[in-house]
């Protein structure tokens, strides 16, 4: 007597090992007798394996992109600049236009851990300006953040990073990590913004350095503005930071944490 055909859902469940042992054994016995059924099962198994292998094993390196694609020219007036920056930053965050290759989890987790470790320490007084870049320190001060922490971190692969911690009112904190660009493995001239408000990360590369900003519970527009402004500062210097300082000053917002 001819046995009824096995439905496609059951056959797929068999291939996915989702059937109870008794039902799976019945199908296995039939497949041993019916070459057509065995071939169907083999095809399903190959489809399954083919889909499993679809994702690229490694993430392609990001090609060089024009740093000016997303960011408009500097505006002269602080008010106009602030409006432009806030609009731009908000749009940037939503659209996520310049994407980084996914950071290896371990280094990123390490940087977040370093941020948290510093975050949990008692706030220190502002450090002397000669420790960090005076220009960077001045820019951060324009948005109400003072340099209070500096240390050096070695990653597992031997890469050494400089960690600068900036502190503002209401315990606003932001960490800037800088490492040699060659150690990053990929170029990222434009800005990449990621994460919810409770943990935000921005990264970009300049001529010789990869920069990573991390903050928790900071206003997103403020964070985006700081990141964009620092990116611009690290990539060019025409001798006048007034426009950058005006942009940072306009983006001051209280931290929510």
């Amino acid at each position: 007597m001819t046995e009824p055909p096995i439905g496609p859902e059951t056959l797929n469940a068999y291939v996915d090992r989702e059937l109870p042992p008794a039902a799976a054994a019945r199908i296995a016995r039939r497949a041993a007798r019916e070459p057509g059924l065995a071939a169907q099962i083999a095809t399903l198994q190959e489809l399954r394996a083919g889909v499993a292998a679809i994702a690229p094993e490694t993430v392609p390196l990001r090609p060089e992109r024009s740093p000016g694609r997303l960011w408009g020219a500097r505006a002269g007036l602080a008010a106009a600049l602030a409006a432009l920056t806030i609009t731009l930053a908000a749009g940037l965050w939503q659209a996520g236009p310049e994407r980084a290759a996914p950071a290896d989890t371990a280094p990123l987790a390490r940087l977040v851990a370093e941020y948290d470790a510093w975050h949990d320490t008692r706030p220190a007084r502002a450090l002397p300006r000669d420790i960090a870049s005076p220009r960077m320190t001045a820019l951060m001060e324009a948005t109400g953040l003072a340099l209070v922490h500096e240390d050096r971190i070695a990653l597992a692969d031997g890469t050494e990073l400089r960690h600068s911690g900036f502190l503002g009112e209401r315990d606003c904190r932001i960490s800037l990590f800088e490492m040699p660009r060659t150690a990053s493995g990929f170029d990222q001239p434009a800005l990449a913004l990621h994460g919810p408000a409770s943990l935000m990360q921005a990264s970009w590369t300049s001529a010789r350095t990869r920069h990573i900003l991390i903050a928790r519970d900071m206003d997103k527009v403020r964070f985006a503005t700081i990141a964009d402004t620092l990116r611009e500062a690290t990539r060019s210097f025409d001798g006048d930071d007034a426009a950058l300082i005006a942009r940072l000053d306009a983006a001051r917002q209280r931290c929510v944490g």
Partner: protein, 177 residues
């Protein structure tokens, strides 16, 4: 904050998570972006499942929700449902005479509807059971079964339509088990 065990879970899931993101977005840049956001969500989460499979399910569900948020933000939500493909596809036996090769599967897979890519990626790339997949997709287990079946049928049909040649006799009837 992640403990060391969860950090290991995250690191071990990274490749499959990227595969799932790639299956959803069909773009490696978008997939990388989505993974990055998902990992940051995990690092920012106040509480995470302690058990590995539950943690992985949380990760994939979070990534999927992030993707849906982006689709909505880009005003593609309507397309998401219109392109569902689950109502019109009729599951049928898989043709026996298709040659499955990885490149063809990849191309055919990326042409599937979003719903079909979603469910196959969770089962085949993510390695989730039907029960876990039903939890992530928030649909009954029976729906997962029928979607998997329809998705594989759609995949095989695309492979057959693309002119793939019959299996050679050496492979015919072979089993991976």
């Amino acid at each position: 904050m992640l403990d060391s065990v969860q950090r290991d879970f995250l690191q071990e899931s990274r490749s499959r998570l990227f595969g799932y993101a790639y299956a959803l977005t069909r773009d490696s840049d978008d997939a990388a972006d989505l993974c990055q956001d998902c990992m940051l969500r995990a690092m920012a989460a106040p509480r995470l499942p302690a058990e590995e499979r539950a943690f992985r399910a949380w990760l994939f569900r979070t990534l999927r929700n992030l993707w849906i948020d982006r689709m909505r933000a880009l005003r593609r939500h309507r397309a998401l449902h219109e392109d569902d493909g689950t109502a019109t596809e009729i599951a049928a036996p898989i043709p026996e005479d298709i040659l499955v090769n990885q490149l063809a599967v990849r191309q055919a897979f990326l042409q599937l509807s979003k719903a079909h890519r979603d469910v196959l990626a969770l089962v085949d790339i993510g390695g989730f059971s039907y029960d876990e997949t039903s939890t992530i997709l928030d649909v009954p287990r029976g729906t997962v079964m029928s979607r998997v079946s329809r998705a594989r049928f759609a995949l095989s049909k695309r492979l057959a339509d693309s002119g793939v040649t019959p299996l050679d006799t050496r492979r015919r009837g072979a089993s991976d088990d």
